[in-house]
């Protein structure tokens, strides 16, 4: 007996969880002496009130789409990939190496091969935790967290001592050559006659992210690999019976997941910064978790949730600029979303189930 209709499961429950998170965030804002309504107004105008705002909102959303898809793919196989942050960092390394050491004549080639570089490097950073989980049972949550720390240390070393141009002060690589610069939304929209903000960083990677979302949807629900992945996620014992190799599935899933996270670097490193810097990821890997949970691990939901979080991120930046509310508010909101949609899911779900059962019960009496 299905306890509640599909639409309630997919839309209503996350919506209510989101409202709860929003309500508590409002309380927090009030507690530090600011006005939540004014804060929301400022966020809306700052994030959605101009093409400049939209440009930033979509730029951040692109990041979250990649990391959210990464977490979603792993979730379908019941794996919790918290390593998106580290995988994206190392993906940045792959992007940078491709961009710096091969002279691309045109950005389209740079885009293709830097994407491959980012994805491959990101996937490789997920490989060892995947193998350890599959073959030694080492819990992937802890190993990926450790690999996040290790990625930060590794990148720190590389950017300070190896890849930094001689004489430069910043721990960063040299700037990527001109032909690799990706067209921004401004450049893309101009032929259409739309005046998009020139200084906003949203770029063609957004289209890449949307393509990735379609790819993930097809993969999970229309291919044999996706079928095997989902079956394994539901029951690894049954998957064995069905001839699905648990090691293979674990590793493949994590490689795809890591690859998606690594692609985020195309947006940040190639698309915006145009060089590799420290902390290019800025927590996007973790926001991917909130996005995946809110979007119920479905690519469409992930895209929507990414835009929402993009809005929160840009809105939060505005707040930090004009009020005394620090950027960490976004971390709190992200935490509340994860808490309500992920861990306290039943707190929202159970009363709604009971409501539907009661409604149905009053409908049919013969039993």
């Amino acid at each position: 007996m299905e306890k509640m209709p599909a639409w309630a499961d997919v839309v209503l429950v996350p919506l209510i969880s989101l409202l709860l998170a929003a309500a508590i965030s409002a309380l927090v804002i009030m507690a530090i002496g600011e006005d939540p309504v004014a804060a929301v107004k400022m966020m809306v105008s700052g994030a959605l009130g101009s093409t400049y705002g939209w440009g930033y909102t979509l730029y951040y959303a692109t990041n979250f789409m990649f990391t959210g898809l990464a977490v979603s793919v792993a979730f379908h196989a019941k794996m919790f990939n918290i390593g998106g942050e580290g995988q994206a960092m190392i993906g940045g390394l792959g992007v940078a190496l491709m961009a710096l050491f091969i002279p691309w004549p045109h950005w389209s080639l740079a885009l293709i091969f830097c994407s491959i570089g980012g994805a491959v490097f990101g996937a490789l950073w997920a490989l060892i935790p995947a193998i350890l989980q599959a073959k030694r049972g080492s819990h992937i949550v802890i190993t990926t967290i450790m690999f996040n720390f290790m990625a930060a240390a590794l990148l720190n070393y590389l950017l300070v001592s190896i890849l930094r141009p001689v004489g430069a002060m910043d721990p960063a690589t040299a700037s990527f050559p001109e032909p690799t610069h990706l067209p921004t939304l401004h450049d893309l929209m101009m032929p259409l006659g739309i005046q998009f903000s020139k200084s906003a960083p949203a770029n063609i990677s957004l289209l890449l992210a949307l393509a990735a979302a379609v790819f993930v949807w097809v993969l999970i629900w229309r291919t044999r690999l996706g079928y095997a992945l989902r079956a394994f996620g539901h029951s690894d014992t049954a998957a064995q019976y069905a001839g699905i190799n648990p090691v293979k599935i674990t590793v493949l899933t994590m490689l795809i997941s890591g690859g998606l996270a690594g692609l985020m670097a195309v947006n940040t490193t190639l698309g915006e910064a145009e060089r590799l810097i420290l902390n290019a990821t800025e927590g996007a890997g973790f926001i991917g978790i909130a996005v995946a949970l809110m979007g119920r691990s479905h690519p469409f939901g992930v895209v929507l949730a990414s835009i929402l979080f993009g809005f929160l991120y840009q809105g939060g930046a505005e707040l930090a600029l004009w009020t005394s509310i620090p950027r960490e508010l976004i971390v709190v909101i992200q935490a509340l979303v994860i808490l309500f949609t992920g861990a306290l899911d039943n707190m929202v779900r159970m009363p709604i189930e009971r409501l539907f059962i009661a409604l149905r019960g009053s409908g049919d009496r013969d039993g």
Partner: protein, 324 residues
């Protein structure tokens, strides 16, 4: 020769101080996991406790009020985790992750609001800090060769929380293996159905375990900001909560082994602070980033089971649902 002894004592001294938060967090995790509740939120609880104890100490000038506040903050987060894991039977890993983020965000948010110092508390001193305690006869024994300095430098002169942490080990052992409560706690992590059908409340036992975890994490966090260092700084736990988990697995969820594994990790962290000593005794220069990453690398190696297989409590991580 004296030189070597001095260097050794310095490092071991650091080891004890650095191992203390790890040990407290590890024992916290031990209680929780032995009762069947996985807790990767040790990091967040420690961080919250570190902030609130430093903030309270800064505002009131009393480190004891700070300690109490830190414990309260950690208990609040424990309550959330307990609610999510036990009452609402949610995913314990996601709950832990959410708590870590919540702590990371809230601490800076509130710190900024209270102190406007970029997310930190003001520096603590005097009565607002835990100060070193001299063990009896430390001065007198100091001159005795070998034993003297060991007693005076290594064992004496730590803050009281260090001694408290060490005392927690036999206390934990006694509680787990010599009391009725400990029997039931161990049972509920292995076979909650056995406890339930015997008429004992699984929910109450687990919440108690989660509360004990909260208290110990609270002490760990308070120690970080008011004992080991002098104030709260953003993200000051730096992964200690996860390292404590690795130490717990390494210790096969047993109290005395936990002491050993936390001392080991503390030692690594102490070494990372003295790259000059490594150069002096091992004759090569180690990149500082590698030293910083060592505890995390060791954690992965331990988890990979290259140092023995560890079997967690059987019912760990799974919400208990009565089979009817």
């Amino acid at each position: 020769m004296v030189d070597v002894l001095n260097d050794l004592l310095t490092v071991l001294d650091s080891t004890l101080r650095l191992a203390t938060p790890l040990l407290l967090a590890c024992l916290a995790g031990l209680f929780s996991e032995r009762a069947g509740i996985f807790d990767i939120g040790l990091e967040g609880k420690m961080l919250a406790a570190a902030f609130f104890s430093a903030a309270a100490a800064a505002l009131t000038g009393s480190v004891w009020i700070g300690l109490a506040s830190g414990i309260a903050a950690s208990l609040a987060l424990s309550a959330v985790h307990g609610l999510a894991s036990i009452t609402f039977r949610g995913n314990q890993l996601i709950s832990g992750v959410a708590i870590n983020f919540l702590a990371a965000g809230m601490t800076v948010l509130i710190a900024q609001s209270l102190f406007q110092q970029g997310g930190r508390t003001p520096s603590l001193s005097g009565q607002a800090r835990f100060n070193p305690v001299d063990l009896p006869f430390a001065e007198q024994i100091e001159t005795v060769p070998l034993l003297g300095p060991i007693y005076a430098e290594l064992f004496s002169g730590h803050t009281i929380l260090v001694y408290a942490a060490l005392a927690m080990v036999p206390l934990t052992w006694w509680l787990l293996y010599r009391t009725r409560f400990g029997l039931r706690l161990r049972a509920v992590g292995e076979a909650p159905e056995a406890v339930d059908t015997a008429g004992v409340s699984v929910i109450r036992l687990r919440f108690t375990a989660v509360a004990i975890c909260g208290v110990l994490c609270g002490i760990a966090g308070a120690y970080l900001s008011t004992g080991l260092q002098a104030g709260f700084v953003k993200d000051m736990t730096a992964g200690r909560g996860y390292i404590a988990l690795a130490a717990l697995i390494f210790a096969k969820w047993r109290p005395w082994y936990a002491l050993i594994s936390c001392l080991l990790f503390g030692f690594l962290q102490a070494l990372a602070l003295r790259p000059d000593l490594i150069e002096k005794y091992l004759f090569f220069k180690v990149q500082i980033q590698l030293l910083d990453a060592l505890p995390y690398i060791l954690t992965v190696i331990i988890l990979a089971g290259f140092v023995g297989k560890a079997i967690p409590p059987r019912a760990g991580g799974e919400p208990y649902v009565k089979e009817r």
